[in-house]
């Protein structure tokens, strides 16, 4: 197989597109400027997918977590925490590589040619820790403790940061809904600026939102070193040519740390390996 074929990612993108379509297939929502209100919304989807997207059939786990943590009567979110533990411990960050619509958007934007793509920069490693702080502060602590008179906390990550909410919910609903157009203000403007910055940055840097901001990726990454689905290196076959580390757009060296928290399980490294030394525990993958 030539190198071009081995780095072709359209097999994975097809899965991402199919999943994004399936989980956002309430087409009437787009036609009428409404959202789906059926029973499936009881369930969370594994990726960052806004439940205010007109097509969304399921709930966003980050939004759901904030809703329960911020509610006056619960505060601890066992249902959503359990869901994240289940998905994370079973698959690590497989969802990030294959089943998250916002990951797909960033993947596609990064294919746009640009003068100089940036792989890494001073402070990159440190900045990647920011997503854990965002999870702790905006998803857990603020909704739990910054509350109104009734004891209800707002979903602060959704409110102040989430670009997926702006793109999948804010833009279509405001475009399709006359009443909402009249209600937009500084918050809407701020979130759109943030979205624009992230989308533009995605052309230059691979998945900047996933690397530095996403609280969902942060949670899944914690489980990756112990996840049931794992990568492994056959040290007998590995020639230490470095091809795998070179092709990785998340700057992971899978020979040193095949189950690194930053790896999104895209499979580029397993495909590029000339000796077949890199594999998963369920066989070859990412073709």
């Amino acid at each position: 197989m030539d190198k071009k074929k081995r780095t072709n990612e359209w097999g994975r993108h097809r899965v991402q597109i199919l999943w994004a379509f399936l989980s956002n297939s309430y087409l009437a929502g787009f036609a009428k400027g409404r959202i789906y209100q059926g029973k499936l919304k009881n369930l969370c989807v594994p990726g960052l997918n806004c439940y205010s997207c007109p097509g969304a059939l399921g709930s966003c786990p980050v939004g759901a977590m904030q809703a329960v943590v911020g509610s006056w009567n619960f505060k601890l979110a066992f249902y959503v925490a359990g869901f994240l533990m289940f998905i994370g411990a079973l698959t690590g960050r497989f969802v990030c590589g294959w089943l998250c619509p916002f990951g797909l958007i960033q993947d596609l934007l990064h294919k746009i040619p640009f003068l100089k793509k940036i792989n890494t920069f001073p402070g990159d490693r440190l900045l990647r820790k920011m997503k854990y702080v965002i999870f702790l502060v905006f998803v857990l602590l603020m909704p739990m403790f910054v509350v109104d008179l009734l004891g209800q906390g707002a979903p602060y990550f959704c409110k102040l940061i989430c670009p997926a909410g702006t793109l999948e919910g804010g833009l279509p609903l405001v475009l399709l809904n006359k009443g909402m157009r009249g209600a937009i203000g500084w918050l809407y403007a701020w979130k759109n600026v943030l979205l624009a910055v992230i989308l533009i940055l995605s052309v230059i840097i691979y998945r900047p939102f996933c690397k530095y901001i996403c609280p969902l990726g942060a949670v899944y990454s914690l489980f990756q070193p112990v996840s049931v689905f794992r990568y492994k290196v056959d040290q007998e076959l590995c020639t230490h040519c470095g091809a795998c580390a070179k092709v990785c757009k998340m700057q992971v060296n899978p020979v040193k740390t095949p189950n690194h928290p930053e790896c999104i399980r895209c499979g580029r490294c397993t495909k590029i390996c000339p000796t077949g030394a890199l594999n998963t525990n369920v066989g070859k993958f990412g073709k």
Binding site: I35, Y36, Q37, K41, N42, C44, C50, Y51, S52, G58, S59, G63, A64, A67, V68, S71, F74, A77, F78, Y79, A81, G82, F83, M85, F86, G88, A89, L90, A154, P155, Y156, C158, K159, G165, G169, G170, L173, V174, M180, A183, I184, G185, L187, W190, K191, F223, P225, V226, S227, V228, R230, K232, V233, Q235, V255, K256, T257, P258, N259, N281
Partner: protein, 61 residues
Amino acid sequence: MKEKNKKGRELSGLSDRTAMKIGIGITILGLIFMAFGIWRGEMAVVFEKAVNICMECIGIG
């Protein structure tokens, strides 16, 4: 940084088998947490939030 050794030990110091056992344990614990959360009625809060347009998500609230 320490490299992964021949027995498949990773930087975390865990062997692949131990890591996987921990992963299976957390997967099961996750299922128990989900069941407990559903029993407590947390799903209703999620549902209620998800079927009404979330003003914070779209940048209005």
